[in-house]
Symmetry: C2
Subunit: 297 residues, 2 copies
Amino acid sequence: MEGGLLNEKIKEYKQLLENTLRSSVQNLDAPSSLKEAMAYSLEAGGKRIRPMLVFAAMDAFGKNPAHGVTTAAAIEMVHTYSLIHDDLPSMDNDDLRRGKPTNHKVFGEAMAILAGDALLTHSFELIGTIPDEHAGADKKIKLVTGLAKAAGASGMVGGQAADMEGEDKELTLAELESIHLNKTGRLLEFSVLAGSILSGADQEKLTILSRFAYHLGLAFQIRDDILDVEGDELALGKRVGSDTANHKSTYPRLLTLEGAKQALDHHITMAREQLGLTGLNTSFLLEITEMVATRNS
Amino acid sequence: MEGGLLNEKIKEYKQLLENTLRSSVQNLDAPSSLKEAMAYSLEAGGKRIRPMLVFAAMDAFGKNPAHGVTTAAAIEMVHTYSLIHDDLPSMDNDDLRRGKPTNHKVFGEAMAILAGDALLTHSFELIGTIPDEHAGADKKIKLVTGLAKAAGASGMVGGQAADMEGEDKELTLAELESIHLNKTGRLLEFSVLAGSILSGADQEKLTILSRFAYHLGLAFQIRDDILDVEGDELALGKRVGSDTANHKSTYPRLLTLEGAKQALDHHITMAREQLGLTGLNTSFLLEITEMVATRNS
């Protein structure tokens, strides 16, 4: 796909996603205070990298990405719930997220916990609403299982628990990578796989795309760590230097800033290489890979 | 089924459930601290009324209740996660649950939040693991959707949010019932419906059993409120009188203690009546109804 046209498409899918996120909370038969708290964090913006990966994977298989919007919204809800809970005073105790006060700062701790719980729960309900012509029950159950594994104790939540335990400890590079692969990598991977499952991908393609997502996930985290050292607070919408202040193990700390940049390059190169092996038209996936490598926020 | 035999069966299913709960956490590839926190609350016992309702509904349809154990375990995980989060300092701030220190008292707030998140997430993963011969993909998706609706913003989490908003307010009986139907009723109802869905129940039976669960759920909550007035602290494993101390709207407060007991009788009678309308062998469901009416803990 040609660059300008691709950017138009990305804007279009992003708009479709925002509408789906908004309406699926609006349509809930629930207390308005709870819906408000859910919508606040859900509509706080961001690049929507996970939904974009769903769309881009479907695009690579020649499918209509718009048919992935429900799955993309479900994944973004899981991501958003994890941010709300991670920001809580007993967890990372963050006051700002994407330049806005964090959920518990606006709605109080109890409501923030409930808003997170509700978003997580609703993600699974959403998958059940995918029209049968876009995914039969077999595919839906694969999506439910995949999302739960990526998000749960053996994935994202487990990564967060391990991250907490690792605070104030000197981690090895292997330990650090293992934490990040669970904490952020698994949900990024699932986004790619979800789009592929919706497209009816075979096991061989799933394996290659899973390796792509592995490198993309590590690149994503390394870029995150680099931004915490040399990023722009205004663009990031949060304070920089917090990792250092919190004595967190990071790539720049373990590898030096220069070493971290080399590791980033390495994983981006590897991610691109995997895409080349798929034999698919991966221009949309490549665009997201670029975005991850060079993002400033 | 004859009384003694039924009690033997109930013990057997309870044991099966406990084993399933234990092994499904043990088998997780997750940090041991997280697994420990999950198992702590999951294995804290209780009557397991929700799992029993799954088993009893299957028994009524002449199916093997043992085939419902995965679904029963999933529902109990959702119930347990809700207790962990409800007990948190920013929510009900409870120190004791079933006679043991609450999860955050033992593992800290952050880990308690994560343990709850992981249990909720794992419940959906579990449903995906039901053997195909016990439930095809269509039934599994019905279970996922039903569980998410019962547990989420339009069900349990919504009820908890409404309950928080209603604190220190004088609620009408209708408002109080609406809160309880969401906060505890929906998951009890889903337990009955899940066993029925697994048994291939038709819409007519589902409607009657849903009405049964409606009355059972209200009876359950009224009994809870009565126990907070005249229950035994040792049997309950928690302090009594906390509702009064917290100025919570309760049935005894709105109806007097005598009026609450009459309301309990009414809903138990109505629940029994619905069971009679099913034309099924409901001795197991009747046994649970008795248990709800007379429980001391």
